[in-house]
């Protein structure tokens, strides 16, 4: 029987980077125009958010930079618009483009942190639950079930509202941002926990785990080395989709007046401010942040959908 490669020729094993580039993952990414566009858009938004303090044409937080004479200017392509305010200005002369950039920054910050928080809590609880089994598992899953019967927005709302009632005003002002992160994170940990627990249960029964235990490998090492890699894919899908959901939740909370403090306005806060002047005809103050929000979340959802297809074993 003939071998594939001529005998005697040593071929160096491909590096991790090359294997990644060659993998199914990258292959299907290249094949999917929506995934590429979505990823590009997301990257753009993240970069703008990160670099906002440096690339924004105007610093909207500096009261000395504002002039009331510049207020209520429509977007540049409409009659009355000016080129230096491409998206128009609000009632106090703030350049909407700059305000948007900073708002984007806050929105992304909050939901990234919330997603990471939920991921950390959820994955940890899932691993513990799956590995320990018995009463701990029961307790955690009961908690998860009970929380699942409430919609996430309600949980986030109630936590935020309660914190407002419980903390004195000044303390709350300072912590508001992190309260929001906590509220959103707590409302979404369950999905991670369930998925990870399921994977842990599957791996736990496998022979190599028994073998590892027999030779004295600690549970932490077993979990990290063996269970986590198997679960990374679905967790990534959940994380991406809940990033989008987190942005929407935060925007909703801020719109309701309960989210981030007014000193660090997010896209939701901006929409709320714009809503107050809706009937005076300055639609751009609301629509611009709204459009930004939708495009951002759409890009994330497209990416998440694609990721879900990639990791779906049934479609392989």
């Amino acid at each position: 029987m003939m071998d594939q490669a001529p005998a005697g020729l040593l071929v160096p094993a491909p590096s991790v980077w090359h294997r990644f580039l060659d993998s199914d993952f990258v292959f299907s990414f290249r094949q999917s125009p929506t995934a590429i566009v979505a990823a590009a858009v997301l990257l753009l938004f993240v970069l703008v958010a990160l670099l906002a303090p440096w690339i924004a044409p105007q610093n909207p937080f500096d009261p000395t930079a504002l002039e009331l004479i510049n207020s209520r200017i429509p977007p540049a392509w409409l009659e009355g618009g000016q080129a230096r305010f491409p998206l128009g200005t609000d009632g106090q002369g703030r350049d909407l483009l700059s305000v948007l950039m900073f708002g984007l920054r806050i929105s992304l910050l909050v939901s990234f942190c919330a997603t990471l928080f939920a991921l950390a809590v959820g994955v940890t609880l899932g691993l513990i639950s799956g590995y320990a089994g018995g009463r701990i598992d029961n307790l955690i899953m009961r908690l998860a079930d009970m929380q699942l019967s409430f919609p996430t927005i309600l949980v986030a709302l109630l936590i935020d509202g309660l914190s407002r009632a419980l903390l004195p005003r000044s303390v709350h002002e300072q912590l508001a941002l992190w309260v929001v992160v906590f509220a959103i994170g707590i409302s979404t940990w369950v999905q991670y926990a369930r998925t990870v627990r399921g994977a842990t249960l599957v791996e736990k029964t496998k022979d190599y785990v028994h073998a590892a235990r027999l030779i004295g490998m600690g549970p932490l090492r077993i979990l990290f080395k063996h269970v986590l890699p198997n679960v990374l894919g679905p967790v990534l899908v959940i994380a991406t989709l809940s990033l989008g959901l987190g942005i929407l939740t935060e925007a909703t909370l801020s719109f309701l007046g309960l989210g981030v403090p007014p000193t660090s306005p997010s896209l939701g806060t901006l929409i709320r401010i714009g809503n107050e002047v809706l009937f005076s005809g300055e639609w751009w103050v609301t629509v611009m942040p709204g459009a930004c929000l939708v495009v951002l979340v759409l890009a994330i959802n497209l990416l998440g959908d694609w990721l879900r297809d990639v990791f779906n074993p049934k479609l392989k």
């Binding site: 029987m1 292959f27 299907s28 094949q31």
Partner: protein
């Protein structure tokens, strides 16, 4: 191929386009089934047996498709029919029995309903007449007290009973041909013989032909008249069951027969065929079996052999043909 053949498959080629290229699942498959005949299809998993049955039924899972070849049912060519026309043939002229009866029956519908539905789709009977016929069918396949069980759901039956219901469903319109894809594989060994026997006797009674797909040689020996051995998407040997089993010609068939443990004590290790059947995306050039064949020649490596008729059966092999000619 005689003009009396009920089903004629000629040079059937089934391809599966994938992201990384086109896979060849069935390569130049040709055979015929006479009316009332039971033709067995045997081979390893992935050899293409089930696909052949699905192609005949017109139920290939997309993106799989028939790339070339012809399928004739009597005087009518059926591989080019639209789904609508094919639907009229399925059930009425060609029936099917699948492997897992639990999966084959809709868990939310009573089996009486499912029977009546099948009957009334093909036969112009009233509800009462169809019910009577359904009960008759249930009796014919050996379900005790059918009236009581008429309103039951699939999960309330045992595996063997479920498969009997599946058989009843397949035969309710008295089709000319049944495609039976591993009909007993999912059943307990003790039930397998009963269900097989039932299938065979019903077919004999109604004069129904059967394409019996299985990986179990014992099933073939019990039930089939002729057998086709499949390997890597091609038929390598096809002939009367007794002949092929007692005196296999193709090296693969010989390997298969040698690998079957018999009840007579064996003095040496079980014979095995080295290597494994190639996957669809890694088929060797020439004869697909040549990497595992003890008698492979240069011609085997270069060219794929076609089916040649020798001594009342057909074999696809250069080596045996050469030795036959020399003899």
């Amino acid at each position: 191929m005689t003009s009396q053949a009920l089903l004629r498959v000629q040079h059937l080629r089934v391809e599966i386009p994938t992201r990384r290229g086109v896979l060849l699942a069935l390569d130049d498959v040709s055979f015929a089934i006479a009316p009332g005949e039971i033709l067995g299809f045997v081979g390893e998993s992935g050899a293409g047996k089930s696909l052949t049955g699905m192609a005949i039924l017109g139920l290939l899972d997309p993106p799989g498709r028939v790339a070339s070849g012809e399928i004739w049912l009597g005087e009518r060519r059926i591989d080019t029919l639209s789904q609508r026309e094919m639907r009229l043939i399925r059930g009425k002229q060609i029936g099917a029995v699948f492997q897992d009866p639990l999966m084959s029956l809709n868990p939310l519908l009573q089996i009486g309903d499912q029977l009546i539905e099948s009957i009334r789709t093909h036969l112009p009977l009233s509800h009462e007449q169809a019910t009577a016929r359904a009960l008759e069918l249930m009796r014919a396949v050996g379900i005790p007290a059918p009236e009581a069980r008429f309103t039951a759901y699939p999960h309330q039956f045992s595996g063997g009973m479920r498969q009997r219901i599946v058989i009843a469903l397949a035969l309710c319109a008295q089709p000319l041909l049944i495609v039976a894809d591993e009909p007993t594989t999912a059943l307990d060994v003790s039930i397998q013989a009963q269900v097989l026997h039932l299938l065979k006797s019903l077919c004999r009674e109604q004069g129904t032909a059967m394409l019996l797909v299985t990986h179990d040689m014992g099933v073939i020996a019990e039930t089939a008249d002729r057998v086709a051995v499949m390997y890597a998407g091609r038929i390598v040997e096809i002939g009367p069951v007794a002949d092929v089993i007692k005196a296999p010609v193709h090296p693969y068939t010989r390997g298969l027969m040698g690998a079957i443990p018999s009840l007579v004590p064996v003095t040496g290790p079980l014979a095995q065929i080295d290597g494994a059947m190639p996957r669809l995306n890694a088929r060797p050039d020439g004869c697909a079996f040549h990497p595992r064949c003890p008698a492979a020649t240069a011609q085997c490596r270069a060219q794929s052999p076609g089916l040649e008729t020798r001594h009342g059966r057909q074999v696809a092999c250069w080596v045996t043909q050469a030795s036959q000619e020399a003899a």
